[in-house]
């Protein structure tokens, strides 16, 4: 056995419990996979001009990822193609052995962030069609996210209304680093459409806003981007709360994806303290900022904070509420959390079931 001193996972059974995985990244095998749903006008455009993103003169990610396609090296499908591009291999390597009963697809290489607004909308729509044709219609455990061209709110809202009521779509997907802070009024038509469709809005780390990951300029190292998602998502979430979107759209639910969660309690305390003294500046807020978080916001777990001792997590989750966390692996990405190892703590059966499955079922309205 290993000679590690770290606490061993509490039980192997956690891996056999049915789980929800609220952050799975499907990939296309080749760019032309989207062609069936792209009008000739846009296929030709992509062939001639490509799809420039809102990142200045840059192609590829802002920081090199350290692993190919930011993915596990053991997740290449045997039939070829990049990690996450094969349903059969995803089933064999992940969904079946980890007993995933509900898997939420979050396509990251979609039309989101493309600078050309109509192209962005067209590719987002094609990716939504592709999710149904290639994934959710082939495996009923999988549910899709409506990817929307969020920098153009009217187009994004139209995309939501197109799919509203479709059983395979369970949320609307944003990336976190938008051109303006997430609560800005330019995005409100998207929140309105999501609330109307009773779909939560998931905000996944990364994006193409053009601003640095930190609020003080471009850092030198990838580790600073990995860690910086926490601060950038705190800024985005603060904006959503303070701008009043939860007053305007009381049905709206928000899920913060892949940005950590241990920062949430401290952000709530900080906001509450400041708001008590500054209430008159934002009188549209009727409750403490943390009350909106407690009622409207959820967090996916991966990449889990790993404090030592791990028991610190019990305090952190207690401050947030055990109903707030949605288990996620990030498969097939390299910072994957294995359900058998992710929560090596003694907790009650109710807490474990909520953390791994029931919280997600409640948020997404997907039953057993």
């Amino acid at each position: 056995m290993n000679l590690q001193i770290r606490d061993t996972p509490a039980t192997q059974t956690s891996s056999r419990l049915a789980i929800a995985d609220c952050d799975i990244h499907p990939a296309v095998r080749k760019a032309s996979d989207l062609d069936p749903w792209l009008p000739a006008r846009w296929r030709e455009h992509l062939a001639s001009f490509g799809g420039g993103r809102r990142l200045g003169m840059q192609s590829g990610p802002a920081y090199p990822k350290g692993q190919p396609n930011a993915s596990r090296r053991d997740a290449y499908p045997p039939e070829g193609g990049r990690q996450g591009s094969s349903l059969a291999f995803m089933q064999a390597q992940h969904l079946d052995p980890n007993n995933v009963a509900l898997g939420i697809l979050n396509p990251l290489k979609s039309g989101q962030g493309l600078a050309n607004p109509e192209l962005s909308a067209a590719v987002c729509h094609a990716v939504n069609e592709w999710q149904v044709a290639t994934w959710t219609s082939q495996d009923s455990r999988l549910k899709a996210s409506i990817v929307v061209p969020y920098e153009n709110a009217s187009m994004a809202a139209a995309e939501i209304r197109h799919w509203a009521g479709h059983q395979d779509f369970v949320q609307v997907l944003f990336l976190s680093r938008t051109a303006e802070p997430l609560g800005n009024r330019r995005y409100w038509p998207i929140y309105e459409a999501a609330a109307e469709a009773r779909l939560p809005v998931a905000v996944h780390a990364f994006g193409y806003g053009g601003a640095p990951i930190t609020s003080t300029g471009w850092p030198s190292y990838y580790i600073e981007e990995m860690t910086g998602h926490a601060q950038s998502c705190q800024a985005g979430l603060s904006s959503m709360i303070v701008e009043g979107i939860f007053e305007q759209f009381p049905q709206l639910r928000v899920i913060m994806v892949e940005a950590g969660f241990a920062w949430a309690p401290a952000l709530g305390w900080r906001l509450d303290k400041a708001w008590r003294t500054l209430r008159a500046e934002t009188p549209h807020l009727k409750q403490l900022p943390s009350a909106y978080m407690r009622r409207h916001v959820w967090w996916t777990t991966q990449p889990m904070e790993e404090p030592e001792p791990r028991e610190h997590l019990l305090d952190t989750i207690g401050w947030m509420g055990w109903d707030r966390l949605l288990f996620a692996t990030d498969y097939p990405h390299w910072d994957f959390d294995d359900p058998a190892y992710a929560l090596p703590l003694r907790i009650t059966d109710d807490q474990r079931r909520g953390f791994f499955l029931d919280n997600a079922r409640a948020v997404y309205g997907v039953g057993a």
Partner: protein, 137 residues
């Protein structure tokens, strides 16, 4: 503890590695320039299959801005989260005092010795003229 014959040494040329299951345990065997090393193929962090990681070296720094590259080919990096382990000892580099993956003693023996025994060689056909990789488990 028993001695297990895994494969002819020619199965794992220098610079390569191979995964075996011995007494139900996944054990990765590495060949570093003719010397063989074994480690439990389970990352102590979250269980990633170490054998499928990248073999690399060790970037070291005495001060910011000063770098050396050492131990080329002697470090395995987990395919999931990139934790680095010394192929020779199983020691980690993110927390070397406390975290390691179990190393297994690996030896080689001639076919004649192996045929004489006592070894466990259930699935390996033995020939006098070959050399074999042996692991103690």
């Amino acid at each position: 503890m028993s001695r297990h014959v895994l494969a002819p040494t020619s199965d794992i040329p220098p610079g390569s590695r191979k995964l075996f299951t011995v007494k139900g345990r996944p054990i990765a065997i590495f060949n570093l320039e003719g010397d063989f090393f074994g480690m439990l193929n389970r990352c102590p962090h979250q269980g990633g299959s170490l054998c499928e990681g990248v073999v690399t070296g060790l970037v070291l720094s005495s001060n910011p801005g000063e770098y050396t590259y050492a131990r080329k080919g002697e470090i395995i990096r987990c395919p999931w989260h990139g934790w680095e382990f010394d192929i020779r000892t199983g020691q980690s580099y993110c927390d070397p005092e406390r975290i390691r993956t179990k190393a297994y003693p690996v030896d080689t023996a001639s076919g004649a010795t192996v045929i004489e025994g006592p070894y466990v060689a259930e699935t390996v056909p033995l020939q006098v003229e070959e050399n074999y990789i042996i692991v103690d488990v």
